[in-house]
Structure formats: C-alpha cells, structure tokens
Symmetry: C2
Subunit: 268 residues, 2 copies
C-alpha cells in the first residue's frame, strides 16, 4: 500500500518524542500520525497541536478514552472527568476520532462491566458531539478482557454502537483484535460508515504477553491486504494506522523500527 | 461443587503417571479421569483401559484428535490416519468423547484452513460412529488460532456441528476458551445436548503464553459457577473436567497441584 494512505501511531515508535514522530512522517511523505496521550502530556496539547498543524499532518486518532468499569461512584466520576479531558484534547488536535478502550471487567460480573461501559459511552457521546469529536469503540482481542476491554468482538462493538445510536459513535478496527473472527467480513460490512479508524499490525507467535507481543505488518499470519480491502469495501476512506505494541520492536532503534513499519506497510 | 461431579484431566497433573492419576481420583472419590494420549502411549492403550476399568473410573474424554490443516495431501493422509488411531484408542478406553483440537491456520488463508477442518471432520465422523465414539469440537481461545485451532468461538463450532449434522459430532466446552464471548449463554443453549464435554479452569493475568498460562478454578476472574449452571441448564448431565494447562502449577508437587485443583473445584 502506498505511504500516502499511512498514519504512524506514536506507540509504534514509543521512544520517539513528538517532534521526532512528526519528522519521521514528513520525511517519508506519510500524511498522518496517531497519538497516545502520553506523547503530548509533557509539553501540553496546545503546543502539540501547533507542531502538528505546522507540519501539515492529520491526526487520525487519539488513544485513549474509556476504562469505564470501576467499583465505586467516585472512581467512575474521576474516569468520566478524564474522558472529558480526552475529548477536549482530541478536539484541540482536530483528531479524526478518540479511540475508546472500554475497560476490563474488574470482578467476576462481566455483564455488570459491560453495562458500565455502555452507560459510560452513552454519557460521554453528547459531550463529544458538542466538541465535534467522534468516539471510536475499539473491540479488543479476547485475551485482553481482564485488563483492557470487555468489548471482545466486532459484533459486540457493532451492537453497542447501534443500541446507543449516537451519530458520533463508531468503531476503531484493529486487525490484531478481530482477524480470528469467522464473522469478521460480515461485521466489517455491517460497521460500514461507522468505521472511524482502521489499524494494522500482525499476529506473531509465541504470545509473550497479552498487550505487547505484536508484529510489524508482514511479520505474521494476518492477511492484511484482504483486511484493508474489506474495510475499503465497507466504505472506509481514511488513512490506515500502523499501531504496533511490541516489546521486541521497542527495544530496537528508532531507525530500525521506522524502516520495518514503513516497509511492512508498503508490502500490504 | 461436589467431587462426585468431577473428572481430573491428566494434563492438570502432568507429571503423574497413569496409576498415580488413578490413585488420586480413587482416593478422593472422584469418579472420572480424562486422558491426554501421551499418558498411555508408553504402556499402550489396552493396558491403560484395564487399569482404569479395574479402578471403576469413567474416562470423560481423550485429548486429542484434529489438527486437520496441512499443506500437502500426504500430510493430510498422515493426519487422517492418526485421527483414526485416536478414535480407536477412545473406543478402547470407552471414553465419553474424543476432543477435537481442530488445527491452526498454517498460511494466511484462514478460510482454507477452516475448509480443511470441516472436510476432515466430515471424513472422520462416520469412522468414529462405527466405533461408537463421539467427536467433540473444542472451540479454542482466539489467542490460539495460529498454533492450535482456527475454530475460535462457540458460535463457529455450533455452526460446524450443525452443517455436518453427524449424530456423534458435538462440542467440548472449556470455560477458558469461551468465557469472554458476549453470546456465550445463547450459544451454550444452542449447543444443548451436543455438549459432550465440559471443562473448567480459570483466567489469570498476565498471560505468559497462549497455551499454558491458566489458573486452577477459583484463582481467576471467570464466574465458573454460572458457567457450569449454564451448561447444566442446556441439558448437560456429564462430569465436569478440571483441565489446567499451567507452567506454574506444573512446577509444583503433585500433592500441591492436586489439593489446589480439588479445593478449587469444590469452591465452584
């Protein structure tokens, strides 16, 4: 795939400072970046937004809001406040969406966690709409259910999106989280114009941890060409993010990781 | 749950020889064992069957047949022959089912792997029926798709069972593999009398590998009481297997692992 379709997610080059990430994008004619919030938490989001605007880059997503399930009302209030800050930041950055990592089940009551997630999304959606921010639920791989998200399939995410029915609520689709699902093609079609973000990385074994055991595009067994073509077929017209959480690649130099990410993307 | 509902899977006490496994079951009034094939491959299945019969134990399952996807016709023929041997062994042991670990996708063509699995099951079912052996497809956790099974959800397993429509083809339901699924309850009901085996262990984090990072019942976040009650509600009347693949517990003494397994089961 041509790099003019590419966005680089900051977590892929985790050691890079914001300006380094921007420089990588600009020097390779990559039109977008995606930002985890820690990347700009030091200098502040206003300054980050200026840097990115002056480089002429798009911000395809901000990661993350969510993490709704909590045991107490005061915890839930603190989470809601943080989510509103994340919306404000996505607005400031003119990001194309705020990715929602919805949160794990903190007890054996998985259904209750899912209710808290849905309730949290319902509460946040109008605030985000006022700010012109789209919220993108990221269904996450079932191996992350107990630490990242109880929304474990694209079917479930589509169900939540349809039940809530907010115009600014949609899907962040990451190949790593959904490629195993025999109903993926049908559910990508179902999501259609609700696909707010599309991300690629690859499945490599052995799994050494549920979070950061991923491969660069092309290193593993996911048919990413087919995946992107399905998203396009469903009406997605945005950039494709390279988002690779990898202990292995994080230990490499910025140069090596950049080369692997971009050549992997070009090979899709 | 009372131990009169329990079956101990040999892999839970991996270091135990067959007679030790039998002794553990008998001394705790546990009525069943489940056997991985390596447990009897040395002395032979006829001898193992005699030992188990003379102890008065049930064999709730034999693990495993399956592993259908392969690149060449000769590999597929060798796999088919091994699957027929597994059926013969399950027959000799009077096992209540042969668990089918259907096999991973060996290329990027996941659909082709799934077709090979379905074709392999169609081919094996009549042979198994002649031997009076039930085949139980085990849908496996999506994190095992690239090394154990491309059948990654209970929905998909139910679909395959219904499409093939063989009376002796059903489901092996392991809580670890399916508990994350928002449609689990509905799909357990759908499986109904096709539930040939029900297994418990627990979900503990961090995941240190896709295969053997599991916990004893009660150590993790799965609501196993609810899980078993759903299986019972769908019409399952068999024993419940403790099947725990755990590097951590495998490094403990047989006594410690036995105590943890049985007290965990009692706590469900």
């Amino acid at each position: 795939m041509n790099l003019d379709r590419c966005s680089i997610n900051s977590i892929t080059l985790r050691a890079a400072r914001l300006q380094e990430l921007i420089d990588v994008a600009v020097s390779h004619s990559v039109p977008g970046v995606a930002l985890w919030r820690d990347v700009y938490s030091g200098a502040g989001v206003v300054s980050a937004a200026k840097q990115i605007r002056s480089a002429g880059l798009r911000v395809t997503s901000v990661c993350r809001g969510g993490m709704f399930p909590a045991r107490s009302a005061s915890e839930r209030a603190a989470i809601a406040a943080d989510n509103r800050r994340a919306v404000d930041e996505a607005h400031e950055l003119d990001a194309e969406c705020l990715v929602m990592v919805c949160g794990a089940s903190t007890t054996k009551d998985l259904a209750a966690a899912r209710e808290q997630i849905e309730s949290g999304l319902r509460g946040l959606a109008p605030y985000a709409a006022d700010a012109g921010v789209r919220l993108a639920i990221e269904p996450m791989h079932p191996m992350m259910i107990a630490d990242r998200s109880a929304i474990t399939s694209l079917t479930e995410a589509n169900d939540v999106v349809e039940r809530i029915g907010a115009p600014n609520l949609g899907i962040a689709l990451d190949a790593y989280h959904v490629w195993w699902d025999v109903s993926m093609a049908a559910q990508i079609q179902r999501a259609g114009k609700k696909l707010f973000s599309v991300q690629v990385c690859d499945w490599v074994t052995p799994i050494t941890g549920q979070l950061s055991s991923r491969g660069m595009p092309g290193e593993g067994v996911i048919d990413l060409k087919d995946f992107v073509s399905q998203a396009d077929g469903a009406g997605y017209e945005g950039l494709i993010e390279i988002e690779v959480l990898s202990d292995r690649w994080w230990s490499e130099s910025l140069e090596n990781a950049t080369r692997a990410a971009l050549s992997g993307f070009a090979g899709i």
